[in-house]
Symmetry: C2
DNA sequence: CCCCATTCGTTGCCTCTGCAACCAATAGCA
DNA sequence: TGCTATTGGTTGCAGAGGCAACGAATGGGG
């Protein structure tokens, strides 16, 4: 077998490289880990969520989310509020400072995504999106229950 | 921004899922880590390499390779032989036991790859391959020098 | 109403791995 | 030949994250 031609290998190389490119922004410039970055973005778009909703498809382990949220709370970027209807879970929301970071970092991240995609025609981008969806769906069937490997 | 539509995120999810699917084979069944698996495969195809050649494009950090090789040597799957022409580096090769594992695991891994790709037409597979190449090339430009995040 | 199963979230433990410092060997150059 | 720069590889250290066990809260029978 030729590793360099093996799809899972190539996907991992590509994913790793894009993660590195992104990390230059959210890690080096804002001190965010990948999980923290994902929490910020999710709360940025949904306003108010629980920790469980943060990993809807098992993309992040719940302990990973827990620690990311704890770190963000410590930095004053995220605020917790108990859910009185179900005191097992807590509502999460960005603080003004957290939102400020989101507002700053999201456009930069999107720009990186755009620069990545800029080598593809808009037709190719559509195609890629569809292919990724198909493969993801299939990979979900082949992977154990819900697991993932994570990273960026 | 919508995380679920963000290309780097989707690539990471997909790569993570495929890694999990593969790990079922090489990790659970053969006790190989991702780096160890890559070393085995590389030596399986090239017969004899140095540790440095194992990470040609900076996909794995050299310390990662070093530890993977050390572990494989300890298990008697890889053998080192000093390069007398340049005693900084060492030639690596699979032992018979190492090759046996390679012969066993490679077809299974390829089968997983096939099953992943089975949801795409052969035309789509070609297209995907080309798109991945384009994106990887571009990502290499955007990522810092040579870094990566690794995994599977 | 009680008991068991389930769910949300946290934490201890352990492994993995990136980074940087380091050693040994080599190469380049005067 | 000597002196410095570079390269292959290893290792100490620290951070990150998966796993599994746990505690707290809830839900679903009987």
């Amino acid at each position: 077998m030729v590793l360099e031609e093996f799809l899972p290998y190539r996907l991992n190389v590509l994913a790793g490289l894009t993660s590195s490119a992104l990390a230059q922004i959210y890690a080096e410039r804002y001190g965010l880990s990948i999980p923290a970055w994902r929490v910020i973005v999710t709360l940025g778009q949904y306003e108010c969520r629980t920790a469980r909703d943060m990993a809807p498809d098992g993309v992040m382990h719940k302990s990973t989310v827990s620690r990311a949220v704890a770190a963000l709370e410590k930095r004053g970027l995220v605020k917790r509020r108990p859910n009185l209807d179900d005191r097992r879970e807590e509502w999460l929301a960005l603080t003004p400072q957290g939102r400020a970071i989101y507002e700053a970092v999201a456009p930069e991240a999107l720009a990186v995504g755009e620069r990545l995609l800029s080598v593809l025609t808009s037709q190719e981008q559509k195609t890629l999106s569809a292919l990724i969806d198909k493969l993801t769906q299939q990979a979900r069937l082949l992977a154990p229950q819900d697991a993932e490997g994570d990273e960026a």
